[in-house]
């Protein structure tokens, strides 16, 4: 869109946009910077004080490490399940003639259920039907949180599947399964990958539902929450910084790769 905003308006709009981005990014990046500071007191490190010391001590923090492994396991199972279910849901979406909009709502509405209410409801049901809290109960809570996002990403990726491709394959005698396997699947594979990664990160970072649903082994965010409120320490900055950096790098590469692929088309 070519619009002549005028220099002052341009400046004003960019200032507002950059201020908003700073509100989102400045504090987390400040935390990451602090995590490289050798000092026990939080503050920006000087260039000579940069250290990986606090990161190096992380493997010895057994409570944190056990929670991390639990979270990674839960996130992996959640992401696989959410991706497969979202793929089915997206395929169903295109099979439906009427009721598409209803189906879309049914898949996306769970996103709006507040975490505390979802966690409380599931934990009440589990405890009073004799189901012990474990990784499985957390996965049950996380599925409904991760699925809507995976569904939207995968549904959007179907834009690459032009109806003409499938019609041509149909004319040439390909079965429905062959059409799916040879045409649809390769075209939506980037969407499936993004859906999986996003679902993984959503589960890995989820706190409120896990707070109600995790068993003896808490997930990482639940352990972190406890530690954040009982006096912060450089170790917390390091593990938080590591998780933040990793999430940022992963999402950024997914978005950039997807963007490049779209341009190449």
């Amino acid at each position: 869109m070519m619009v002549n905003e005028g220099v002052i308006n341009r400046l004003l709009l960019w200032t507002l946009a950059i201020l908003s981005l700073l509100v989102i990014y400045a504090p987390p990046l400040y935390l990451v910077a602090i995590s490289f500071n050798a000092s026990l007191q939080p503050g920006l490190p000087g260039l000579s004080d940069l250290t990986l010391h606090w990161y190096a001590t992380l493997p010895k923090e057994t409570a944190l490490m056990n929670a991390l492994w639990q979270s990674l396991f839960i996130a992996f199972v959640t992401a696989i399940t959410a991706t497969l279910l979202s793929l089915l849901a997206a395929l169903a979406y295109f099979e439906l003639k009427w009721g598409r909009s209803l189906w879309f709502l049914a898949m996306v509405l769970p996103m709006f259920v507040p975490g505390v209410i979802e966690g409380l409801a599931l934990s009440a049901i589990f405890t009073h039907s004799g189901v012990k809290s474990s990784a499985a109960t957390v996965i049950a809570g996380h599925l409904l949180w991760a699925m809507p996002f995976a569904f939207i990403v995968i549904l959007t990726s179907f834009a690459a599947v032009k109806p003409a491709y499938l019609m041509a394959a149909d004319d040439l005698g390909a079965s429905r399964w062959r059409q799916f396997h040879d045409i649809t699947l390769p075209l939506i594979r980037p969407g499936l990958t993004s859906g999986f990664i996003f679902a993984f990160l959503l589960s890995l970072n989820e706190f409120t539902r896990a707070f109600y649903l995790s068993g003896r082994q808490n997930t990482l965010p639940v352990v972190l929450f406890g530690k954040m409120n009982s006096g912060a320490s450089p170790v917390i900055y390091a593990i938080s910084g590591a998780i933040l950096l990793l999430s940022i790098l992963i999402v950024a590469s997914v978005v950039l790769i997807a963007g490049r692929a779209r341009k190449a088309q």
Binding site: V3, E5, L16, A26, G115, L155, N205, F207, A252
Partner: protein
């Protein structure tokens, strides 16, 4: 083929029903049952005690203040999202656009807990802002109201949920033919006039969807208040946590029902006005 359709629909639908619809329906039913001190659970006798207890001890004021916070945060985020979406969609070349899109996507998938916590390091008594203000001799003592205050909570809301307002706006801006704004400017409209008579009305759907998303996310949020709110600060989700500390199930369920009704009422009414699914993709209607 109805059989294939059933095979595709059944698994995801089963998950939504078993993990979503059934638990929430049970919450609604259980909110009308009676608290049983013998078992710390409830017994199936009809009772409105849970709902009556909402009126006690000023609990309803927390609900009202939650709705007010949600409304305020949704307005603030919508106002901030518009310039941001405009900058991404209109004022950026392809490279900058890609970078900004990545920057707007990342917050969805990074820890809301850690991001809220990081504001403590910035806003605290010995935090970055107070240190800076004192170093520049603007203040002589640390400002106390920066952290553990409504100010901090609102900053936290914006930092957490602003992207929820930006994306619907971007999607609806993409549907506006690019010539319209340029034509309005050619015909002599000033930039703001062109913006408010052309682009803003054509993007009402995105603006409203963004407002709704932020409202609903804030109404169900707990992390920002837990991390950044003052001693007496509350929001519905935190109140439910507190009520559950004494295992008062009927009250917790009654509060949940009021919130769920509000949230889904708003989403469904909003969806009636603007087809939300229409925002995603050409063929999604």
């Amino acid at each position: 083929m109805p059989f294939r359709r059933t095979l595709l629909i059944a698994p995801p639908l089963a998950v939504v029903v078993v993990l979503g619809v059934v638990p929430l329906a049970l919450v609604v039913i259980w909110s009308f049952w009676t608290w049983d001190p013998a078992t710390y659970w409830i017994k199936p006798e009809l009772s409105l005690a849970g709902y009556a207890a909402i009126m006690d001890a000023g609990r309803w004021t927390v609900i009202v203040s939650t709705l007010a916070k949600s409304f305020g945060a949704a307005i603030l985020c919508s106002l901030l999202a518009y310039p941001l979406a405009y900058a991404v969609h209109v004022m950026s070349g392809p490279r900058v656009q890609m970078l900004l899109l990545a920057l707007m996507t990342i917050p969805f998938f990074t820890s809301y807990l850690i991001r809220s916590f990081s504001w403590r390091l910035v806003l605290g008594r010995t935090g970055a802002i107070n240190e800076m203000l004192q170093a520049l001799h603007i203040t002589s003592a640390p400002l106390d109201w920066l952290l553990f205050s409504n100010f901090a909570v609102f900053i936290g809301f914006i930092a957490s949920y602003l992207p929820f307002a930006v994306f619907p706006l971007l999607l609806s801006m993409r549907r506006v033919p690019p010539e319209l704004m340029a034509a309005a400017r050619d015909l002599g409209a000033g930039f703001w006039r062109a913006l408010f008579t052309i682009l803003v009305p054509l993007t009402y759907a995105g603006l409203f969807a963004g407002f709704l998303f932020v409202f609903v996310m804030v109404a169900g949020s707990s992390t920002e208040v837990q991390m950044l709110g003052g001693a007496g600060a509350s929001i519905v989700s935190v109140m439910i946590n507190d009520v559950m500390r004494v295992a008062n199930y009927p009250l917790a369920f009654a509060i949940s029902v009021v919130m769920l009704a509000t949230i889904f009422g708003m989403v469904l009414v909003g969806n009636g006005f603007f087809k939300l699914s229409g925002l995603f993709g050409e063929d999604a209607e």
